[in-house]
Chain length 420, copies 2
Amino acid sequence: MKRSDLFLKTRKEVPSDEEAKNAQLLIRAGYIHKEMAGVYSYLPLGFKVLENIKQIVREEMDAIGGEEMLLSTLQHPHIWQSTDRWDDAKVDVWFKSALGEGSEVGFGWSHEEPMSRLMTQFVSSYKDLPVYAYQFQTKLRRELRSKSGLLRGREFIMKDLYSFSRNREEHDKFYALVEQAYHKVYDRMGIGSITYKTFASGGPFAKYSHEFQTISDIGEDTVYLDETKKLAVNQEVSADEVLQELGLERNGLVEKKAVEVGNIFTFGARYSEPLGLFYTDENGVQQPVFAGSYGIGISRLMGLLAEIKSDEHGLVWPAGLAPCKVYLASLGDEEEVRRQANDAYGYLTDKGVSVIYDDRDERPGEKFADADLLGIPYRLVISQKSLESGGFELKKRTSTEVTIVQKDGLSALLTKAGQA
Amino acid sequence: MKRSDLFLKTRKEVPSDEEAKNAQLLIRAGYIHKEMAGVYSYLPLGFKVLENIKQIVREEMDAIGGEEMLLSTLQHPHIWQSTDRWDDAKVDVWFKSALGEGSEVGFGWSHEEPMSRLMTQFVSSYKDLPVYAYQFQTKLRRELRSKSGLLRGREFIMKDLYSFSRNREEHDKFYALVEQAYHKVYDRMGIGSITYKTFASGGPFAKYSHEFQTISDIGEDTVYLDETKKLAVNQEVSADEVLQELGLERNGLVEKKAVEVGNIFTFGARYSEPLGLFYTDENGVQQPVFAGSYGIGISRLMGLLAEIKSDEHGLVWPAGLAPCKVYLASLGDEEEVRRQANDAYGYLTDKGVSVIYDDRDERPGEKFADADLLGIPYRLVISQKSLESGGFELKKRTSTEVTIVQKDGLSALLTKAGQA
C-alpha cells in the first residue's frame, strides 16, 4: 500500500472524548473511529488487524474440528422465552425493537438459544454427534456505561463456538482440546506467558467454568495466581474451600488485575432441554444433548494488545497481527532515492511481503513518528545518506538498533520478518 | 470434508413455512436455516458460498483501488437527523431501540451518513482525495412483509462502497470503473449474459442512477431491454422522452422481470453538505466533497443463483461459488473400494481440491441425490463396478455423461475443475 493511496491520518493529540488508552492509541493511529461510547468502526488498517486475529482463531478452531457458520443478529422472542432469557428483568443487556403490530425482535447479545434450536434440525441420533460449530459474530449489548474502549463495547466482535456431545465424557474430551487450542491462540498473539487458565463460577452442570485471564492493570477482574502451577482463581470463587479443593495455598497466591480474553463453559442440558434438543442413544433411549460454549473476544483482544503491546511512541503489534510487515519510508526528493524506494517497494510486494510505502513529501521526523505510532514490525528507510552508507536503514519497532541492509539483504529481511 | 464430520442433513420435503424457491432449495440442501421471515442463518456449506461470493467482489473492488473496512451496526440519531433521515416518516425501515433514559440508537440499514461523517476526520485538502472505501456489512431493515427468501430480507449482507472525489469529472471516471468491475463480478458468477446495466431514477446530482438487473421471472422489477445495445431501462423511468434521450426505440424493447443485483449512484454533495464534508481545493477555496455509492447484495446474489442455477434435482453452483469442487461417493463396503476412496480423498485434498467425501453407509441413490441437491460441480463415484470398469466414475453436475477416469486421470480432473 502506498501511503498516498491510503485514507489514513495520524493524530498527535489524544481525542478529548476518549478515556481508554487502547482506543486513544488506535484512534490516533487511524485504526478505528469512534461512533459513540462503546461503538467503533474499523478503518482499513484496523480491519486488517481484526482479520489477522480472526484468522489465528479460525485456524485453531478448524484444527480441532470446528465448522464455521454464521447465525443471525435478529432474534425471535419465542426461543429466548423458552429458556427464560427474554425478559429484561432476567437479561438487562437486550436491545429490542418493534417489528410489526405488537411484535418485537431482539438483537443478538449471545447465541446459545438460536444455536441449540438450530441443532434440533440436525441432531436426532447418537450418530449425528458430536457437532462443533462456531462463528465470528457482531454482538450487541445495551451497556448503559461504556468507557473502556474496545475492552467492553456495546458492539463487539466475538468468536463463539458451541459443542454438542453425547455425554459428559465426550464433552470433557473436547473441552480439554479447546483449552489447548486457546493456549495456542494466546501464544501466537504473544500473550501466552501472561495469560492464565482461571477457575470461575460454574453452574448446575459444572462446578467451575474456566476463563482465560491476561494479567494487566487495566483489567476489570481480580484473580489470584499460582505462578508455578500456571493457574489462577477468579476472586468470585476464591473461598478457602475452593482453594483447598484445587490444591492451592492462599499464601502462595499473588493478587492481580486481569482482562478476560476467553471463557469455556459446560452447560450440559441447560439449553438443550427447554429447546427440545434431544437424541436417541445406542440403546434407543432419548437423551438431552450435552453442550458447552467457548468464547474469545476478538475486538477485545485487539484493544488489549493495543494497550499492553505499546510504548511511549505508539503501538507495537506482534508480527502475526500487524496490518503489514514493513514501513518503508523514502526521505528527500533525490531521483535516485525515489527510484530505489520504488524498486524496493516493488521487490517486497512481489515477494509477498506486505508494505506500507510512505511516499509522501513529509519531513523524516513525521515519517519516523508515524512508523512508530502505527506499530509496524520493521521500518526500512531509504535516503541519500543511507545510500551513501551502502543501502537501506533497517530498524525493528522493538529495538533502537539500525542496520544497513543491501538490496540483496532484503530477502534476509523477509526471513526475519517471517519469524518475528 | 468427510460427510460424517459435517453437520449436514438434506431434506426431501419442502419446508412448509417457506414460499420462496431459493430458500426452499437452500434449506433442503442444508445451506441455510430460517430463523424467522426474512432472517436466515448460514450453515457451514452456505457460509462457504457466501464467502466465495464476497471474495469475488472483494477482488474486483480491490482491483479498482477500494479499501476494505467495517462500519458499526449501531447508529447515533444525531448524524441521521442532520440529513433528515432519522424520522420514521422519512425512512420507514429503521429498527430503533432504547439505550438509556430517553436516548435511542438505530441499527444500520444503510451507511451513507456514518461513512460521510467519518471522512470529515480524514479529508480536508484536495490532496486527501479521492477515497474509495467499502465494507461487507449486515444490514437490518424493518420490512413488515418478507417472503422472498434471500432476495429481500430483514437481515442481509451487502457490499457497499463509497467514493469521495474532488469534482464530477473525477467522480465520473471512477463511476465508469465501478461499472466495468460490476460486469466482471457478474461474469465471474455466470450471470453476465443475463445481467443488464439499467437506467433508473437519479436525484438532484444525477439525472439517472444505474442498476444492474438480472433477468428472471422472480424479479420484483420490470425493465425494458435493448438486447443489441445490452442496455435496459427500469419501468419507473421508461417515459417516451427518456427513451428518446437514451436513443432507444420503444418498439425494439422487450419487457422482462428482473432482480436488482447491484446499483451505482451519484449523490454529489447530498450528504457531504449537511454532514460538513468539505475540502480546500488547489485555489484555497472550500468545496463540498463529491460522493457516490455502489452496492451489491451479497446474500441476495446467493439467493438468486440458487434460484436460477438450479434444476429439478437441486442446486447447480458455478464452480467458483460452490462450497467445494468434488462430491466423492464410495458405494458398498468392500475393503478395496473403501481403500481407494480414502486414497482419492487424500490425493485430491493434498492437491488443494476441495472435496466432500460421502463416506456414509447409505444407499447409492441417497448419495447421488445428495450430490445433485447440493449442486457440487463434479461427482466422483467409486464402487466395485467402477473399479471393474477400470477406475472412478466422473460426472459433471450439468451433464448426464459418465466417464471412467483412472487414478492418474484425477489430475486432468483438477485442471478441468479449475477451468469450469
